[in-house]
Symmetry: D2
Subunit: 259 residues, 4 copies
C-alpha cells in the first residue's frame, strides 16, 4: 500500500494577530510545521498549536525561521552558518518544551521561508541546519526540498546521522532540472485544485513530476506541502487529500513512513 | 562537612553588546544562571556561555525573564499566570538545546529580575513558574528566594513534584520578617566585601541571618547569589568564596547538594 | 449647529498580519489614531494608513503604546515618567514622518491600551504624555478620557501649553463617579448599536451621560471613540454616525472643533 | 581657509547595554550620527545623545539602520526600496522628536552598516534613502560614500532636491577604482594613528587619496568618518583632529560647510 505524508505550516499567529486557518486545515494533514517565535508564533500560540495537533493525531515539527518578525522570515538575511545553527537550535528546543508540556514527541524540523529557500543547494547553510537538528535530538527528521539537491542533502544527513524526508509541492510547477519554477514566472503556482490533485497523485504513486517542458522527472518524495492560510488553500488541501485517499494512498506521518 | 552552592547571573550579553565579566566570575561560582533571550542573551551568547560553564565545571541553569529587552526584564509587567508559564517553558527549553549541544544536563531554573521579584510571595505566579519547570523536566531544581515565602514555595514544589533550592543574598540586608530590605533604603546593599563574607559565613554555617534590627532569623539556604557585572562585584565574589573555603565549606552545585 | 469628532484606532496591522477593517470604518470617522510601531503598526502600515486617512479627509493622530508587540500594548508595564515621555516622543515623531511624506499636518495624539488606561487619573504619567506632545509640536491636540480626571488633565494641558480634547465611549457604561464601568462587570460593554447610538446622541447634544445607577453626569466631550476591529464594530460605527447626522450633528475633526 | 567636517557614530547603547565612548569622542568631532532604535539606540539613549551633542556644539544627524538589533544592522537584508524608504522615514523622524525636545535642528542623515554598504553604487536603494530624507525635511544633508559612486549620488540628490556630503575614511585604504579595500584584505584597516592622520590631511587639503597601488585619486570629500567604540579609536580620533588643526584646517559641521 502506497503511503505519503502531508505537511502544512501552522501556528503562525502572534499576540493579537491571527494568521492561518489552523483549525480547518489540520483535518487534512499528517504533519504540522509549527512556527517558533522568530518569524511568527509566540509561546501561547505554540502551546495551543501543539495541543491542537495532538488532539487531531497530527505529528508536530518545528518550523524555525529568520529573526525577522516584521518580514515574516521571507527576506533573505546574510547570516553565518554558526548563527543559523544557533538560532535553529534555539527555536527547535523552544518548541520542544511545548511538546513535553503536552506529552508528545517532536517528529521533524522544516525551515521556514527564506531560511528554507537560501539553504536549497547551499551546503554550508544546509549543514548548519542539520547540525542544529542533530544537536537537539538526532531522532528528529529533517524535511528538505526534493529534486536537484537530493544527493547533497543525503550526504549531509548521513554525516550528521539524522534522517531526511524530501518534500514536493503539488501546487507548484517544476523546471526540467527538478527545481521549482520561479514564482515570478506566470503559472508557477497552480491555482486549480484538480490540477494540483493530479500532480499530487503522480508524486505519491509514481514519485514522478512532469516538468514545464513536458519531461518526466523521477523524484524521491516523502511529504507533500499544502497550505492553510486562506479558505481557498483549505479547499485545495481538502481536494488533494480526498484524491489521494480515493486512490488508496494512506496519509501517514513521516515518523511512521521513514525507516 | 558543610556545603553550599554559589550562583551568579551570566550570559547577559546580546549581539554587539557585552555585559558582565563572565570569564572572571565563573571561577568563583558553582551554578550559572544563563539568560535565555528575552531580557538578555541571544542564541550565540547562550551557546558560548553554556560552553564556558561546562569548561569550568559549573552547573548550568536557565534564567528566564520578561519579554522586555530594552528594560532588561527589570520592569514589572502585568502578565497572566498562563502567559508566564508559557514564556518560561519557551526560555528554559531554548537554553536546553545548548545544553544538549554541549552534552550537559541542565541543573536549575532561576527567574530573572521582575519576574523573580513579582513572584515572591505570589502563589499564582510562583505556581506558573513551577509548572513550567515541571513540564520541561521535573528533575530541574527551582531556585527561589528563601525566607518569608519558604512554606508557600515548598507547598507548590511538592504539588508540582519538583525540587526547590532557597537562595540568600550575602550583599543584601534583611528585614525582621525575613524579606530583603528595599533597595530604596540606604545601606540595603552591602558594599564592603568583608561584611558580605561575614554574612555569607553565617548563612552557610548556621543558616542564620541577622536582620537590620539585630534579631536573628533562621533560614533554609542552599545557594548564595553573587554578582559579576563589574570589577568590584567580581572582587566581592572572590572574597566571599575565599572566606567560605577558609572555613572548610565546600562550594557544591545544587544537584549534588539537594537530595 | 452641534459638532463632534469621531475617532477610531487604525493602522494596527503588522508585517504579514492584518488587523482591523480600516478601509471600511474610515468612512464613518473624522479622526484616525494610527499605531506607531510599538504595540502595533510598522513603517509600511503607517505609510499606507496615513495615505488612506488623507484620501478620506480624515485627520491623522498618533496612537503611541507600550513597547510590547506580543501583548499588543494591553499589559501594564511599570515604566518611569521619563521612559514614557521618551517613547511617546519617539512614536509621535515617527508617525510625523509619514504625515510629511503625504503632505498633511498631524492633528492629535491619543495613547493606546494600557498606556492610556494607566495614565487616567495619574498625574505623573499624564504629564509625561503631555510633555512629549508639547516637545514634538505644541499645536498637537492631546486626546484624554473625559469625566473624573478632567480637572487634572486641564491643569497639565495648561502648564504644558497644549490643547486637550476629551473623549467618551458610546459603547461603554459609566459609573456614578464618571469613570468607565470595569469591563469585568457584565454589561459594561454595550452590544446593541441602537443603545450606543442613543448614548452617543446624549453625549453629543447634551454633554451628558446616564450612569449605571440612573444618575445624570455632565461631561465635557469633544470626541467619541468607535471601533473597527470586526464587522459588528463597523456596523456599530455606521449606526452611530448615521444617528448623529440624522440629528443634524456635524462630524468634525478636532482641529476644527477646538478653539 | 580649508575646512572639513568630522563625523562619528554615536548613541549606540541600548537599555542596560553601553556601547561606545560617546562622552570622550564627542570632543573631537563636528557631526554626530545618532542611532535611531533599529540596529541600536532606544528613546532614552537618543534623548541623552542629542543632549550631549547639543552641549558640545556638535551637529546632530540620524543614523538609520536595518531592523536587526541582534545583528547590529551589519547583516545584509533583502529589503525592497519601498521598505527601505519607509523605515528610513520612520527612524529619521523619530530622532527628529528629540531634536525638537532639545531645541536644535537636525543636520544630516547617514545610513548605518549594511544599509550604508548595500546602497553604495545601488541606484534603487540610494534613491529610497534620498526620497526618505527629502520627504522628512529637504534641508537635511545626505551623507554618502565618496569616490566611485559620486556621479550617481549627485544625480539622485539633484532629482530629490537634497544636498549631499561625501565622506572618506582616514583609517581605511582605497582600491585604484576609488572603492574601499575589502576588510578581508590584510591592511585594509589602518591601525597606526599617524598614518591615518597623514591620509586625513591629504583628504582634507588636497581632496586626494593614494590608492593601494600608489595611484593618486581625486575625490570630493566633505566629511571624515572617525570612530569612538574603544579607547584606541578615541586616541585615533584625537590624533587626527590635532593633525588637521595643526595644519590650520577648521573642523566645521556640514551645514556650515555646504552651500
Amino acid at each position: 500500500m502506497k503511503r505519503i505524508d502531508i505537511n502544512c505550516d501552522m501556528g503562525e499567529s502572534f499576540g493579537a494577530y491571527t494568521l492561518g486557518m489552523d483549525v480547518k486545515v489540520i483535518k487534512h494533514i499528517s504533519s504540522a510545521n509549527i512556527a517558533c517565535g522568530y518569524h511568527a508564533g509566540d509561546p501561547q500560540v505554540m502551546d495551543k498549536t501543539v495541543k491542537l495537533a495532538k488532539e487531531h493525531g497530527v505529528a508536530v515539527g518545528a518550523h524555525p525561521g529568520y529573526p525577522d518578525l516584521v518580514g515574516f522570515g521571507r527576506r533573505n538575511m546574510d547570516c553565518t552558518p554558526d548563527e543559523i545553527r544557533d538560532f535553529v537550535i534555539y527555536q527547535i528546543s523552544a518548541l520542544n518544551g511545548f511538546c513535553r508540556l503536552h506529552g508528545i514527541k517532536m517528529q521533524h524540523v522544516k525551515p521556514h521561508g527564506s531560511l528554507y529557500n537560501m539553504s536549497v543547494g547551499n551546503e554550508a547553510q544546509s549543514r548548519a541546519i542539520a547540525e542544529a537538528i542533530a544537536a537537539v535530538d538526532p531522532s528528529l527528521i529533517w524535511v528538505a526540498l526534493g529534486g536537484a539537491q537530493t544527493p547533497m542533502v543525503k550526504k549531509i544527513a548521513a554525516e550528521t546521522k539524522i534522517r531526511v524526508a524530501f518534500e514536493a509541492f503539488p501546487d507548484r510547477t517544476y523546471d526540467p532540472d527538478g527545481k521549482l519554477t520561479s514564482r515570478k514566472r506566470p503559472g508557477a503556482v497552480i491555482e486549480d485544485p484538480e490540477k494540483s490533485a493530479e500532480q499530487a497523485l503522480r508524486m505519491a504513486i509514481d514519485g514522478e513530476i512532469i516538468a514545464v517542458d513536458g519531461s518526466r522527472l523521477k523524484m524521491e518524495i516523502h511529504t507533500l506541502c499544502l497550505h492553510g492560510d486562506n479558505p481557498a488553500a483549505v479547499e485545495h488541501a481538502r481536494t488533494i487529500r480526498r484524491a489521494l485517499e480515493a486512490e488508496g494512498i494512506a496519509i501517514t506521518p513521516l515518523a511512521v513512513l521513514l525507516p
